[in-house]
Amino acid sequence: MANSRTNRHDYVRYAIKRLIQGVITVWLIATATFFAMHNVPGDPLLDEKAVSPEIRKNLQAKYGLDRPLLEQYGIYLANMIGGDFGISYAQENRSVNDIIREHFPVSAILGILSIVFAGLGGILFGALTAINRNRLPDIVIMFLVILGISVPSFVFAALGQMTLVNVNALLGTSILPVAGWGTVSHMIMPSLILGLGTMAFLTRLMRSSMLEIDNSDYLRTAISKGLPPTRIFLRHQLRNAILPVITVLGPSIAAITTGGFVVELVFAIPGLGRYFVQAVQQSDYTVIMGTTVFYGAFLVLMVIVVDLLYGLVDPRVRLD
């Protein structure tokens, strides 16, 4: 009893420590973003039309660009803590918060679906290859895995779209839409494509972790005890083999959200990634800064959540 209480105590301390580290990381990301953007040549008010010096001064005052750099940094941080990322320079009357609120859910749904595809596929195919080690399914799947790791996501996206166009033309009806967003049928192809690279990676990981367990003492014990094979497979092998897969899910979420840029561009999905690329092309500094910090905070949070979950699932994990 006492032992479990200290464990829980340790866990809470570990969680608080991770959260504090996360907040510091986000602050550093915000700082790096702010000073990086201030070193960009030119300024956001110079881009469009030529304005008279008076108007320029007024605009600078409006956006607070006439104040000393450190003061601007202070205002920026204070606003950000209050959850305000500022106003877009390129799109009038649109705040960065609006843009994030409107477009992030789209990216999030796409990302979650891909993670689900990648996770399920990776575990399934990884287990399949390990069971059929060095036999045909193993060879075929591992060949596909190498392809999946070597082919860039935009090539997959293009191929997927081309396939859809051809299949739709062949059947005369649209089984899945080629581009766009809105219904469930719009989501299937892009999230599959987005998850492919991660799926390949997870399959390889799952396979090696399954094979490692194959040689473990506890598996041999379970077999010699005469447990039914399905029970051995599900409870002893699969459950333990999934653990390393869970650890890499955090970084995988990062890979998938940024990989989402390409898929959003190719499939014309109104997600935040596409807006980020657009903001970069339009030098929309506030949107660039806001999105970077938001994405950064999101990724840091995801990694922490996955680590904390992992601590819950696997009691052997060292909390430090």
Binding site: T25, L28, I29, A32, T33, A36, M37, N39, V40, P41, I146, L147, I149, S150, V151, P152, S153, F154, V155, A158, Q161, M162, V165, R207, S208, L211, E212, A254, T258, F261, V262, L265, V266, F276, V277, V280, Q281, S283, I288, T291, T292, Y295, G296, L299, V300, V303
Partner: protein, 459 residues
């Protein structure tokens, strides 16, 4: 009895202990193990071939990658390059009006007059009942409905003017010409007639001579067949030679893919070995900073730094990309090297060297770095595909190498726009990227198995 000891060498025993094979150095042994694996050997050959393609290729295939061949736009490899030489275009002289009895519109009425060539396609049809004009469409696919006839070429507002000469940007291919009758209000009357027309490529004698396609001169050239410029891998949407662009693109992509890892692995080695050697507080501090850099969202900051460093509008953007990659990618190597150094510094030979009076710099350079070389080489090989991916990704979203410099990523970006009509423009650069990444992955696997026994994969 006295025992005598003999201290002479016993030859027989020493002969049996002679080693039959000379002992191998670390690198010889690694090469021996590397050679056994056919996959890594094949990948090494492919890497060498890619290197040749990149370095020697542009000397052999000397076509300028920015040169546009406007006669051959988006041409797939192996396409027909023949062109018949003809005289200059002659005006189509016929009566203005067609007084034939109007009929209902059907496909049989539509006819090509003369030969359909890339110089001109001449269409004629009979007057249509109830029509007060006609609209002519040109499509590249068989029309499925009156709404999908293709490109409208002309509105004719005279029921008796039933002919049309198309001279608009004709290519050597099959076109589907559709004629639809118009009401007096200018509205389309339901039915349409479609005719598929195979267009043959022709070139005027003057142009053929001007472009050096034929040795002979003068009007005698007319009727001859000449061959347009050869493009072994086809051309892109601006008529630029794909092979030349792939070679020059390889220079950019492989340059970034190989130089960037070299640079950031070097930075990582320095940082990691200093941290590992310093140990204690400094080590902690330096590694905290490395942790922070790792936590930055990589591609977002790649883009951000790319904006910050891209000062001149005319720049290719390669140096900005290299700098951004170095700033963001060094921590992985630094961590690895630090771990190795922490391990090695406890070894006895370091202590011995220190006893003999070796300084810190000497220890790092002479003992620690050489002993981590194997691990570093493996990291380097695995870093190449990552860097190639990053370059391709940035170029694909338009943040990479500035046009007109080709890179495989930007070629994919351009190719994706025409992928349905000219898939080769996407397929070739995509295959090159994938093959390169694949080969470096396999090479890395092979090197890992050969160089580092501790890092060997489970299977």
């Amino acid at each position: 009895m006295e025992v005598t000891f003999s201290f002479e060498r016993t030859r027989a025993i020493s002969r049996t202990e002679v080693t039959t094979r000379p002992s191998l150095s670390y690198w010889q042994d690694a090469w021996r193990r590397f050679k056994v694996n056919p996959r890594s050997l094949i990948s090494l050959y492919i890497v060498a071939t890619l290197g040749l393609f990149t370095l020697v290729g542009p000397w052999v295939w000397t076509i300028d990658p920015t040169l546009q061949d406007l006669d051959q736009i988006s041409v797939p490899p192996g396409a027909d390059r023949r062109a018949r030489v003809v005289g200059p275009h002659v005006r189509w002289e016929v009566d203005e009006t067609n007084n034939a009895i109007p009929q209902t519109l059907s496909a049989t009425q539509l006819a090509v007059i003369g030969e359909a060539t890339t110089q001109a396609v001449r269409l004629a049809w009979n007057p249509v009942v109830g029509a007060s004009g006609y609209r002519v469409y040109r499509g590249i696919a068989e029309p499925a409905s009156p709404d999908a006839l293709g490109l409208p070429l002309i509105d004719i507002v005279n029921a008796k003017l039933t002919r049309f000469e198309d001279r608009l940007d004709l290519k050597s291919r099959t076109y589907f010409y559709s004629v639809i009758a118009l009401s007096s209000a200018g509205l389309e009357l339901g039915e349409y007639a479609t005719l598929d027309v195979e267009v043959t490529r022709v070139i005027t004698a003057n142009e053929a001579i001007a472009r050096g396609l034929s040795e002979r001169r003068g009007p005698s050239l007319i009727g001859e067949t000449v061959y347009l410029d050869l493009h072994p891998l086809g051309t892109d949407y601006l008529g630029r030679d794909m092979l030349a662009r792939l070679m020059h693109g390889a220079r950019v992509s492989l340059f970034i893919g190989i130089v960037a890892p070299f640079l950031y692995v070097f930075v990582g080695i320095l940082y990691g070995s200093i941290a590992g050697f310093a140990a204690g507080r400094w080590d902690q501090l330096m590694m905290r900073f490395a942790d922070f850099v790792v936590a930055l969202p990589f591609l977002l900051f790649m883009i951000l730094f790319k904006i910050v460093f891209n000062t001149e509008p005319g720049e290719s953007g390669i140096s900005a990309m290299l700098l951004a990659m170095i700033l963001l990618s060094w921590p992985a190597t630094a961590r690895l090297v630090r771990g190795q150094i922490l391990q090695i510094r406890e070894e006895a030979y370091i202590g011995a060297s220190r006893l003999l009076g070796a300084g810190s710099m000497y220890l790092i350079l002479r003992h620690m770095i050489p002993n981590t070389m194997g691990v570093i080489l493996v990291t380097l090989t695995f870093a190449v595909p990552g860097a190639i991916f990053t370059e391709a990704f940035l170029s694909f979203i338009g943040m990479g190498v500035a046009p007109p410099n080709p890179s495989w990523g930007s070629m994919c970006n351009e190719g994706i726009k025409t992928m349905l009509t000219a898939p080769h423009e996407l397929v070739f650069p995509a295959v090159f990227i994938s093959l390169t990444v694949l080969v470096f992955n396999l090479l890395g696997d092979g090197l890992r198995d050969a160089l580092d026994t501790r890092m060997r994969s489970a299977n």
